[in-house]
């Protein structure tokens, strides 16, 4: 198959990253469960990570030497760490919310309605 013999470039990774991102966004927009929203956030961050890693790779580009190199990977490391931190805090908030309102439905959390 032609598909399988062609080497993969940055663009393919970017597509994957885009799909992950879009899924994450839709998940955030659609899910009523707060944890679901968190999952969406994870997806989004992952999509971004994929992009970073793709850009940092030396193999995937036709123009060698223009990759981000280790910077990209470092950034994606940071993103992972921050995603973990953010997940922890967001979860704490969600748990708080659940404990106070006895529901995890974010649609019920409209007390900030103007």
């Amino acid at each position: 198959m032609d598909l399988l013999s062609q080497p993969v470039g940055v663009s393919h990774y970017l597509v994957v990253g885009a799909i992950l991102f879009i899924s994450g966004v839709v998940c955030m927009a659609v899910k009523r469960n707060a944890i679901g929203v968190l999952m969406g956030i994870e997806l989004v961050l992952n999509g971004a990570n994929v992009n970073f890693v793709a850009f940092s790779s030396n193999f995937l580009r036709s123009d060698q030497g223009h990759s981000l190199g280790l910077d990209g990977q470092l950034i994606s490391l940071f993103v992972i760490v921050l995603a973990a931190a953010e997940a922890a805090v967001a979860l704490a908030i969600a748990l708080n919310y659940y404990n106070n309102h006895s529901t995890i439905d974010v649609d019920r959390a409209d007390e900030l309605k103007g």
């Binding site: 879009i22 890693v53 193999f59 995603a83």
Partner: protein, 233 residues
């Protein structure tokens, strides 16, 4: 039939898994199922990382993301589940809107992915050398057509590609950048311009997050169905 580029094969495999399960997260209604699909998706992403040569990052993804964050999410799922898993359905209008938006995003992002020519093609010299060993003139032609012939020298020498990134990453986090040493660039001479400062900031950040999360999630009087909306003690 050409030889299978196993890199591409595995890439496609992991990519499909990741995307499919990501979509599955969106479409699933059960929160536990969503969590599972997410785990799979992120695992596949980790594989993608490996394929891109970021071994350390991929390992970290598996360890921290999948093994830590998602487990945390599972905990959250369990802590916030009441009785049989309630299914909260979103209205059709929201779905339409979401799809519309996602379509717009896609229309925006996907062309952008293919925008730069340098991203589309790849000269994997080791692979092409292995694959096209019988066609050296094609490889030379391809080499010749490559603008940056000098930069390919390291790759063209058929030397094994360095994919061990842990040590350089670790060193970079502590300050010196041992992967970019350039006697001409002053900021890169001694290998400075590392990520020591962001590293420390992240550490503090994590500390804060730890404390904050511990505080936020402390034991309080639980509001149950008999007492909805009860506030903190």
């Amino acid at each position: 039939m050409d030889a299978i580029n196993w890199h591409t094969f595995f890439f496609l495999l992991f990519a499909l898994v990741a995307c499919a399960f990501a979509v599955g997260v969106v479409l699933a209604t059960n929160i536990v199922r969503m969590a599972l699909y997410l785990i799979v998706s992120l695992g596949a992403t980790s594989g993608l990382f490996f394929l891109a040569g970021a071994d350390f990052v991929a390992a970290m993804q598996l360890m921290i993301y999948v093994g830590g964050t998602l487990v945390l999410l599972i905990f959250g799922v369990m802590l916030t589940a009441k009785g049989p898993f309630i299914s909260m359905k979103t209205g059709g209008g929201d779905w339409i809107l979401a799809c519309l938006l996602s379509g717009c995003l896609a229309a925006f992002l996907l062309p952008a992915a293919f925008a730069v020519p340098g991203w589309r093609n790849v000269r994997h010299a080791a692979d092409t050398a292995a694959v096209n060993a019988a066609q050296p003139e094609i490889a030379e032609a391809a080499d010749a057509s490559n603008a940056t012939a000098e930069a390919n020298s390291a790759v063209a020498t058929n030397a094994p590609v360095q994919t061990r990134t842990a040590t350089p990453l670790g060193m970079g986090l502590l300050g010196p950048r041992v992967d970019t040493l350039d006697p001409d660039d002053a900021s890169l001479v001694a290998g400075m311009s590392g990520y020591l400062l962001p590293f420390e900031i992240i550490s503090m950040h994590l500390l804060v997050v730890l404390v904050g999360a511990a505080y936020l999630a402390r034991t309080k009087r639980r509001a149950d169905s008999r007492n909805p909306g009860a506030r903190n003690a």
